[in-house]
């Protein structure tokens, strides 16, 4: 039945939208890759079939009446209007069916609430509009932002395979281990959902919620925020990479090292040359797409940075624009996207490259203080 529906759907789809390679006619929930998601799937199917059976019986009687008891067919109406036995029966039978349905549902729920004996604990914080993942036993953490380019969203570029379901830094978890998530939010309520895990939990500001998962198969799993959280609610996906244990351990070690390096970098005394060198790289990855590698930009949408007021005059205004962005324009707020070191390097670079030569320098420490005071 489902196969037929899919085929019919695919046929219609093929005729109507031949150019679409992504045609997907998934009709049902998928079982997912965890015990929980499989339990939920079988619950879902059980209820679905019970509903289908009840539906067939009830609608069957109804359609029989519609076809057989029509006035135009000369049907004469009967005059019964109550029958205690029937009425009692159709109260009791649904009740019994409900009790039968409640039993597996209760068992699954009890299992979902059992967060004990977790081996990895990860704190997830929802922000407008990104997720922060902190490995609380390991002392490192990072933000996870949507990485789909603006051009794709605004239809100026062909949409990629994982359109809106891709991030810069996915959450990485080990396969086969019980991972416990502790959820909270910074601003408004968000909800963290990975359908393949059967895990969805609200992240509420000021409160901590917990849930868990154990993923059996390595892979990349995608989900989204499922609680309306403002403008970009549709643009804060969840991507989880489940990897084998050794790979996970290596990754953790690497992250810890990187975090430590980053800490040292912020503290250390930077020279102009060092900042310029780092700034050139950071500029290339974060800014050059719009402002062009030569700083000329593409006015009016993307202003030139060569000799313009912002980069040659008041430094505070320059920092403000880079850290907080310019609302209503394509200029994003880079304050949370780049590290203090990169922010300082980019600003220093912009003030001295392409003949701007202001000789100004801003250190990571100063950026840190600036951000602190906001």
């Amino acid at each position: 039945m489902r196969v037929h529906a899919q085929r019919a759907g695919a046929l219609i789809g093929g005729l109507m939208f031949p150019a679409w390679s992504m045609a997907d006619w998934t009709l049902n929930m998928t079982p997912g890759v965890t015990g929980t998601s499989n339990d939920i799937f079988s619950l879902h199917m059980t209820i679905l079939w019970i509903c289908v059976v009840i539906g067939v019986v009830v609608f069957g009687v109804m359609f029989w009446s519609i076809f057989a008891h029509r006035k135009s067919q000369g049907a004469k109406p009967a005059n019964f209007h109550e029958n205690t036995l029937v009425e009692v029966l159709w109260t009791i039978i649904p009740f019994v069916i409900l009790v039968v349905m409640a039993i597996p549902a209760t068992a699954t729920l009890v299992d979902m609430y059992d967060t004990t004996e977790s081996e990895v604990d990860i704190k997830i914080t929802g922000y407008q509009w990104k997720w922060q993942y902190e490995y609380i036993n390991e002392d490192f953490g990072y933000f996870s932002n949507l990485s789909t380019p603006r051009e794709q969203i605004e239809n100026r570029q062909v949409k990629g395979e994982n359109y809106l379901l891709e991030v810069d830094n996915p959450l990485v978890i080990p396969v086969g281990k019980k991972v416990r998530f502790l959820l909270t939010a910074n601003d408004v309520i968000h909800s963290w959902w990975v359908p393949d895990f059967g895990v969805k939990k609200d992240a509420i500001p000021g409160f901590i919620n917990e849930t868990w998962t154990r993923v059996d198969e390595p892979g990349i799993y995608r989900g989204q925020c499922t609680e309306l959280c403002g403008k970009d609610h549709g643009f804060m996906p969840v991507v989880v990479e489940a990897v084998p244990e050794e790979e996970y351990n290596a990754w953790v070690a690497e992250q810890k090292e990187a975090a430590e390096r980053e800490r040292q970098l912020t503290e250390k005394d930077w020279t102009m040359d060092e900042l310029m060198e780092r700034g050139e790289k950071a500029y290339a990855s974060a800014c050059a797409a719009c402002h062009q590698p030569n700083g000329q930009g593409a006015p009016p949408a993307f202003p030139s940075l060569v000799g313009t007021q912002v980069v040659t005059e008041d430094m505070a205004a320059h920092i403000d624009i880079v850290v907080n962005g310019v609302s209503g324009t394509a200029m994003q707020a880079f304050g949370n996207q780049l590290s203090e070191v990169d922010l300082a390097a980019v600003i220093t670079y912009e003030r001295n490259a392409w003949g701007n030569n202001t000789g100004d320098m801003v250190t990571p420490k100063e950026i840190f203080d600036y951000k602190s005071q906001q």
């Binding site: 059992d114 004990t116 704190k123 002392d139 901590i208 917990e210 602190s372 005071q373």
Partner: protein, 200 residues
């Protein structure tokens, strides 16, 4: 039906009575809406459903620690929106025996050039454990002022109740630190202060 009897004799009076009852219902339900706030707090305190840990715990009996059991208590610290302090637990987690008082510290630093006031709001997971987590001393009972550049270690003394259900082996206590404005603004409006203290 009494109403109906009445309606046959004096519909006007009966209508007034019905309207009166309805209005009483409306006023009552409006009040009930507001009563849900304290009721919810009381309900949460009794059942611990929302993970808000209770106020200061005063126990008269000197409980003996149950050394046969160990419970891991984890600490988390988050900053509210716009809060610029550095805020973190000094230790990530401790293992305790139910019934024994334990002291841990949280580190807070105001890196800005202005004096500020912070207020920590606690939350416990699993919420089922809330009832069994008692604080005899906590920085979250009061607001915390810090001068520009000042740092402090803030104490928390807690006891995990011996009646903690056996299946709970790990408790996570999370604090979110909120900016309560500049020092001058310490006197917040009344509800803000009372509730924070209540739930501290």
């Amino acid at each position: 039906m009494a109403d109906q009897q009445l309606s046959n004799t004096d519909p006007k009076r009966s209508t007034r009575r019905v309207v009166g009852w309805c209005m009483a219902g409306v006023v009552g339900m409006f009040a009930f809406g507001f009563a849900m706030v304290p009721l919810y707090d009381v309900f949460c305190e009794i059942t611990g459903i929302n993970g808000k840990t209770g106020g200061r715990y005063e126990s008269t009996e000197v409980a003996e620690a149950d050394v046969t059991r160990t419970v891991k208590v984890q600490f988390l610290a988050s900053n509210g929106p716009g809060m610029t302090w550095k805020f973190r637990p000094v230790v990530r987690s401790v293992e305790v025996h139910p019934g024994e008082p334990t002291t841990v510290n949280f580190y807070a630093e105001n890196p800005t050039s202005e004096p500020m006031v912070g207020q920590a709001v606690p939350s416990l997971a699993p919420s089922e454990g809330t009832l069994y987590f008692h604080k005899t001393e906590c920085f979250c009972f009061n607001q915390q002022p810090l001068d520009a550049g000042e740092s402090t270690e803030m104490p928390l003394i807690f006891i995990v109740d011996k009646d903690l259900p056996a299946h709970i082996t790990k408790l996570t206590l999370s604090y979110t630190l909120y900016d309560q404005g500049k020092q001058a603004a310490v006197t917040q409006n009344s509800r803000k202060e009372t509730t924070t203290n209540d739930n501290g």
